[in-house]
């Protein structure tokens, strides 16, 4: 978002990259399978990207999957409550690694208007997030821009830094 942010400073690969690793990252950046969690304005807007007006298939997202074993991108939308966090944690653990997470909409990032007893404000400590998109709902162009940024991250091999995550 800001022009002085360098993504290369955050690359966290430890050993020299092998051919198979580079092949895996190349193929993942060309074909991504998303899975949507939650409901609200942002979920409706993401499903509208598959409609006649916008063309999200050209970024590699062919169709929405609902089974965690078949998806590698988790899109968290809507307020994450204490009750739905129980479901979110299970979904994240059942996905196969390497996997990525996008937080779509202001309600997912900080709770938006609903910062009260139901909102689990520290869900990002348990689930590492890669790209955040504010807006209520964010415009379709903003969502497509975030997918471009995600593909840059996959190409370079940047992983989000968090502790105690079982990846």
């Amino acid at each position: 978002m800001r022009s002085n942010f360098e993504l290369e400073n955050h690359v966290t690969l430890t050993s020299a990259t092998t051919f198979m690793e580079r092949l895996g990252r190349w193929s993942q950046s060309k074909l991504i399978w998303p899975m949507i969690f939650g409901s609200g304005f942002s979920e409706v807007e993401f499903r509208n990207l598959y409609g006649p007006r916008y063309n999200v298939e050209k970024f590699g997202l062919e169709g929405i999957k609902y089974s965690p074993g078949q998806a590698d991108l988790l899109i968290v939308t809507g307020v994450v409550t204490h009750k739905s966090f129980v479901v979110l944690e299970k979904l994240y653990q059942n996905m196969c690694s390497p996997k990525w997470v996008i937080a779509l909409g202001t309600e997912a990032i900080s709770g938006g208007l609903f910062q009260n007893y139901t909102h689990k404000s520290d869900w990002m400590k348990h689930i590492p997030v890669d790209v955040m998109v504010p807006g209520d709902p964010p415009t379709p162009e903003a969502i497509l821009r975030s997918l471009e940024m995600l593909i840059e991250r996959i190409d370079l091999g940047v992983r989000s830094e968090r502790e105690n995550i079982d990846v």
Partner: protein, 528 residues
Amino acid sequence: MFDFYDQLKQEFGENLKKKDSFLEMKLEAVHFHQLASQLKNKFGFIFLSDICGVDNKGDSKKEKRFTIIYHLLNLEEYCHLRISIDIDEETKLSSVGATWPSSKRLELELRDLLGILFDTELGAGFLNPSDYGGFPLRKDFTPNVNGPVSILSTSFPDDPSIDADQRGVRSWVNIGPHHPVMKNNVRMILELEGEYIRRCQYETGFHHRGFEKQAEKLPWPTLITLIERLNSQAPFMCTSTWCHLIENSLKLQIPERAMAIRMVFIELTRIQDHLECIASCAVAAGNESVYFICQQGRELVYELFERMSGSRLNPALNCIGGVKYDIPIGWITDCFEALKKMDDLLTHIETLFTRSSIWLDRNMVSEINAGRALDLGITGPVLRSCGVNYDLRKVNPIYFYSDVEFEIPLGVRGENYDRYLVRMEEIRQSISIVIQVLDNLPIGEVSKIVENQIPPAGIHYSSLESSNGELGFTVVSDGESDFPWRLKVRSPSFMNIIALPEMIQNRLLDDALMSFSSLNINPGELDR
């Protein structure tokens, strides 16, 4: 209406008061439960639409801790009776579930969110107050969440009506909250014998965001930004109901051009919501091409919204006193063209679905009896598909609904196919309403400046015919402070989901998913 009012006056005397278009009564708790069956059988108040509980701690004018407000309706005369009861913390209330079965879900809320005691066992609700450290809607609540929150287990207690051999054949299936047909928020637990459903339980509350508690922290003018986020498919209807409530309580008359613009956008939202429901029914059956045809129709409506207000999904047009922006040049011509294209799309969908033998076979299931539907508090297209002629736009018309010509389609048996036919015909009637209003648009300004936006002290209620049913708000205000004392939402999806276990009894597993998507449950409205 006059004979009916005289009859009630004779029976209840001084206690009955008339305020605006409502009748109000104050009773003792014990007295009300004795009168319940008389109110239903003799005076015809067969429909219980809402129960609202208010915590009076901190209000010096009230002596007792809780006030409970029951909203009763007589559908033939359209008479709305409001009964309020004051009780202490230790009083045990008895349930009215035997007289009005629609009260069961509403009383679970009173027990879990306010801590009111009942003398019978009510069952499991959607929230466990001990997980959150208290009763959330009380005024002295401090949140204290330790560890994960509890969820229903996937099992049933033994069925006493069958023997041990049959018990061995049955198995349980969990259709979890993360599912495309269940809108990512409702969990259904089914007991199956082979492929047939014998018992069903559902669990909601995954998207409970604390809407009603949050409304007590925002001042009156900014509350409208919270109301927009109640229903993600039809936000304009929620803000229109809210503005109608505040304007009625302040006895304010908005300009005629604003009334007409509100009507146009209400009907456009209704068209978009019905198309989404038909699209999700088609996806549940496996037909993805109709989903894309409906998506084309919705994009036409989104573009009209965006030209007017700058935002695609949520036309933030309403304000107290009218509408914020006027119609730009060229919008009306584009609206007529879009409605013509919508007509072609509807003809296309009808060629594929109406009278097709595959669609009829899959959808002539899950019937609801009309009398049972009225007992359960169901409204909207689900009630009209059973054959009951009740639409708030005809019974209690606001704005210009009494001047335009339109008809109410009725179904026959209350099956999925009737709901599909009722929704398709309602889209056509909405298109004709929009064309009639835009042909005769009044001239003038679009909004009035309102300085004092605080409603006078007391209880206020207003409702509107939303795309799912009757959407209403109850507001308790004390006349002076900047924040509301209590806000309660009468949400149609919350009441319509009661029909689910009875609809899918002894049906196949595939039919359960199609029946669920034909009820058009919206998660934001369901859990608030």
